[in-house]
Amino acid sequence: MSNPTLTWNLVKDVHELLAYQFMVNALQAGTIVAVMAGVVGWFMVLRRQSFAGHTIAVMSFPGASGAALAGVPSAVGYYVACGIAALAIGRSGGAGRRGAGGGGRGAIAGPGGSGESAAIGVVQVAGLALGYLFLSLYGGVFEELQTLLFGTFLGIDRNEVLTLGIVAVVVLTVLAVAGRPLLLATLDPEVARARGVPVRALDIGFLLVLGLAVAATSQITGALLVFALLVAPAAAAQTLTPRPGLSLLLSVVFALLVMWLGLAVSYFSIYPLGFFITSFGFVLYVVAKLVRHVAAWVKRDARPREPRAAAVA
């Protein structure tokens, strides 16, 4: 393969991108992962469960190193470890969400709420410590650790793309069916409970779906960077609009944009995919924040003028 170079001819660049099978696989896998992460991440950010999401993401490290030690396929390790972590966090209750209706955002959690965030932290380090033990028992090849934590998109084969597709269909179907009650249970648990929505079951169910999505995604982006794809597009979308349907759509679009740009740029560069994905996500979030601030500023600036104009008239 000759060294790829970026030219100003976009059509030629895209053509070059699609010339290799590994790149087509990467783009397909990336697209599936981005759609899934955009949707699941949107719920995660809305539920303020970033810490739980990060913890489940990190669990793919003990999962993969445990699978290597036990001699089973690493994908099995990913799904098992993420599932166990989701259940452990769900059992400790609440998953770091404090206060109803977002009122507890800046507030200090009471002894109950603080205990939950400690529980998630404990689950996380327990998993990481186990992962380190597995790796050192396995005789730790270091390159593998780096791939586990930071991912690779070069070695994706057709089977993996197919598996990702199946997982994505399962995840999206579950969320399509449970989406409305989940939204209600997230925004107003009291009302949801009064209407007979099984809030607790939805809590644990969502964590399991999150675990499934994260286990699939982290095989591409690595344990530490899955989180960037989950949180940044969703956070940017929710910053821009309060309407649920629109911001969900925006979240998916942003995730796709970040993934495609990241893959394309990292193909033409010597630097890793993870760096580009996290950077594009971060820039997106900052731009969304700026747009919101400017919009709020324009609005506030416009408002006092109206009464004055009315007085003159």
Binding site: I108, V125, L128, S136, L145, L225, V231, G281
Partner: protein
């Protein structure tokens, strides 16, 4: 066991780092800022890699990055507490920079870089020299003194920020101070038990202490004691079982303490209900 110099250094550094983690961790858990502590500790690893790329002492990178991020997080949030989405976005970006730096490091030099990465992620308490041990002990002691000095106002500001600010307590400054202290502890703890695991010494002993007692000073003392016990026991255990990495042993003991405390507090909460004298008022309250 203590005849070995590396074990003595490990105990020297580990003891004070554990005490500092236990005390700072108690406030971290009380205020529900474990995610912030998590972000700071993972970011410490990027600091160490950056220092290796630039070619300066890794402690410079560790402290610069953790203290910098602590200030950013304090600046972004109301009451010096950033909300979890902001933490998540900022910290995943810093990790992305870490990935970039690793690839720069591994294309620039030949070998040795993998060891740096593994050591900063999972620590190397048995690899500390006497000088490093002394510095770690001094920093740990400094953090302990600082936490005890601001403990009273910080407790007030944590439990009732509105009332505290009415009484003239500088709530924002205290929030920043705590984040800075978390930053210092994670930077120092990264050398001992690693960037990915230092959170265990912050969250687990403190979580256990808060489940066992609501009394603040008793809780702080208990948290520091559990962290210290996990550190001492972990080092000894790992010395006895060579295939067990010290960081894993230390974290296993801390997590075990947390699990025991959870069980104990669940039993304590359940016991009064099985007592008939205590049960009646509860049913009376519920019946109307």
């Amino acid at each position: 066991m203590l005849a070995h110099e590396f074990i003595r250094n490990a105990y020297l550094a580990g003891s004070f780092v554990a005490l500092a983690c236990g005390l700072v961790g108690w406030f971290t858990v009380l205020r529900g800022q474990v995610f912030a502590g998590d972000a700071l500790s993972h970011v410490a690893f990027v600091g160490a890699i950056a220092a290796a790329v630039v070619g300066v002492d890794e402690r410079v990178g560790l402290f610069a990055l953790t203290l910098g991020l602590a200030a950013v997080m304090a600046g972004l949030g109301r009451r010096a507490q950033a909300d979890d989405v902001t933490i998540g976005v900022v910290f995943s970006w810093v990790l992305g920079i870490g990935v970039l730096l690793i690839s720069v490091l591994s294309t620039g030099s030949s070998g040795g870089d993998g060891l740096i990465v593994a050591n900063t992620l999972f620590g190397s308490i048995f690899g500390l020299s006497l000088g490093q041990g002394l510095v770690a002990a001094a920093v740990g002691l400094g953090v302990v003194v600082a936490v005890l000095a601001i403990a009273r106002p910080l407790l007030f500001a944590s439990l009732d920020p509105e009332l505290a600010s009415l009484h003239g307590v500088p709530v924002r400054a205290l929030g920043l101070a705590l984040l800075m202290l978390i930053g210092i502890v994670t930077a120092e703890g990264t050398q001992a038990i690693g960037a990915l695991l230092v959170l265990g010494l912050i969250a687990a002993p403190a979580g256990a202490a808060l489940r066992l007692t609501r009394k603040p000073y008793l809780g702080m003392a208990l948290s520091a004691a559990i962290a210290l016990a996990a550190m001492w026991g972990g080092i000894a255990l790992s010395y006895a079982i060579p295939s067990l990495p010290p960081s894993t042993a230390i974290i296993a003991l801390a997590v075990g303490a947390y699990a025991l405390a959870s069980v104990a507090s669940n039993i304590a909460a359940w016991a009064p209900m099985s007592n008939p004298r205590e049960r009646r008022p509860v049913s009376e309250v519920r019946s109307p």
